[in-house]
């Protein structure tokens, strides 16, 4: 069986030097896939159902004891977010699992993101590859910069995911209008956000899981 990520090597995104100094361990990796989202296959839905059975309430409660989810909670505190008000990606999915009684299938991309995030604990985002210009990276917003689809300017110094030209999303926040994946998307850029305490291998595994779920689903 071919390795989906080995076929498409992941790229390391750029990182603003001030962010590198302030947050050692912060990073962004991305990989492109030549397909859009769509409906999930029966096999992927079944995989989601099995994952629902495996992921119990006890695991949700003890999630913040695990090293990777805990690392994201700590990083949220460091950048001024409260993980109890705005849950980390893995906790948000776990919370939905508890509320709905299972991981409810939505579409191919969301289902693949759910599987990869729950399995690895790593924060993942997806963009429309035809609407962003590589390389992607993390930087601070400049004075006068805004996020498409959002009224007003971003406060200077906001940490954003940016492409070559503009911010395409807030770190752990909203994606700029038109830069996310839509039903018209033909190619996707899948990215992972690494923080201190999250090992490289977990980031690689997260992207591998995501690409594999998209390929097979």
């Amino acid at each position: 069986m071919s390795d989906p990520v080995d076929d498409r090597p992941t790229e390391a995104g750029f990182l603003d030097p001030s962010l590198r100094d302030e947050f050692p361990g912060l990073g962004l990796r991305y990989v492109s896939v030549d397909r859009g989202s769509g409906r999930s296959s029966r096999a992927l839905k079944e995989r989601l159902r099995v994952l629902s059975d495996r992921f119990t309430g006890a695991q949700a409660i003890t999630l913040r004891r695990r090293p990777i989810p805990s690392a994201y909670r700590v990083f949220f505190r460091h950048i001024g977010l409260d993980p109890d008000e705005q849950p980390t990606p893995v906790e948000e999915i776990a919370l939905e699992r508890m509320k709905k009684g299972g991981f409810v299938s939505q579409n191919l991309l969301d289902d693949a993101l759910t599987i990869a995030t729950i399995e690895s604990g790593v924060a993942l985002r997806a963009f429309d590859a035809d609407r962003v210009s590589v390389p992607l990276g993390l930087r601070l917003s400049h004075r006068g910069e805004g996020l498409e689809g959002r009224r007003g300017e971003l406060p200077p110094g906001t940490i954003v995911i940016a492409d070559r030209g503009r911010p395409i999303g807030l770190l752990f926040g909203a994606i700029a209008a038109g830069r996310g994946v839509s039903p018209k998307t033909r190619r996707m850029l899948l990215s992972s956000i690494q923080v201190k305490g999250v090992p490289d291998i977990a980031v690689e595994e997260a992207l591998w899981l995501l690409v594999e779920a998209l390929e097979t689903g």
Partner: protein, 211 residues
């Protein structure tokens, strides 16, 4: 709170570790101060996470610290506020958990006494929540055969069978809620204990008068 903060001995500072929460950090540079504060925040956040996981299924404990507004690189003052907020929240949560542990211990002791002597604890009801356990089970001291048992003093502790079936999406005001509202709180347990003690005293006084 010096043990919780575990200040880095290599970190340049001029404040006493014992008053580190109250006093601002005096750094040689802002970045070094931010770095040290982030380390302290990480430690406190992990301790809070550990406590959160260990307190389940107890509910009603406030875990929220509040956001400084982000995502951005926070200033020293903002990081200090987050650290102090975490330290305070941790201290409050620990105190609350300790208080509840005492109440739950009292609840467990009450259940044991109820089982040993149901007649002394007539109509007393202790829920799983009162003893710090998950589920809807409760112990209820009630007479066997209803009014007949009341007349003849045939009291026993009856153990409920557990949670009622889920009422479904439309049944928000189903039996579960009514059961919860009837469930005895820690205060009611204390009240029941006091009532039972008063009954025991009255019975002892009556026995003394008969002699």
């Amino acid at each position: 709170m010096p043990d919780a903060l575990e200040l880095d001995p290599h970190f340049p500072r001029s404040v006493d570790p014992a008053v580190a929460v109250a006093a601002p950090v005096a750094p040689s540079s802002d970045r070094a101060a931010r770095c040290e504060l982030r380390r302290q925040i990480a430690r406190l956040e992990r301790e809070l996470g550990e406590l959160f996981a260990s307190t389940f299924p107890r509910r009603g404990i406030n875990w929220t610290v509040g956001a400084a507004g982000g995502p951005r690189v926070l200033e020293v003052g903002e990081l200090e506020r987050i650290r102090d907020g975490l330290a305070n929240r941790l201290a409050e949560a620990r105190a609350e958990v300790a208080r509840r542990a005492d109440a739950e211990e009292a609840g467990r002791a009450l259940v044991e006494r109820m089982i040993a002597d149901p007649d002394e604890y007539r109509w007393v009801r202790v829920s799983n929540e009162d003893v710090g356990e998950p589920g809807c089970k409760h112990w209820h001291s009630r007479p066997r055969f209803g009014i007949l048992g009341m007349l003849f003093g045939w009291w026993r502790v009856k153990l409920s069978s557990g949670c009622p079936l889920a009422p479904g999406l439309g049944g928000c005001r189903g039996p579960h809620q009514s059961l919860r509202s009837r469930s005895s709180s820690g205060f009611e347990v204390q009240q029941a204990t006091a009532q039972a003690a008063a009954r025991r005293r009255t019975a002892a006084a009556a026995r003394g008068r008969r002699r």
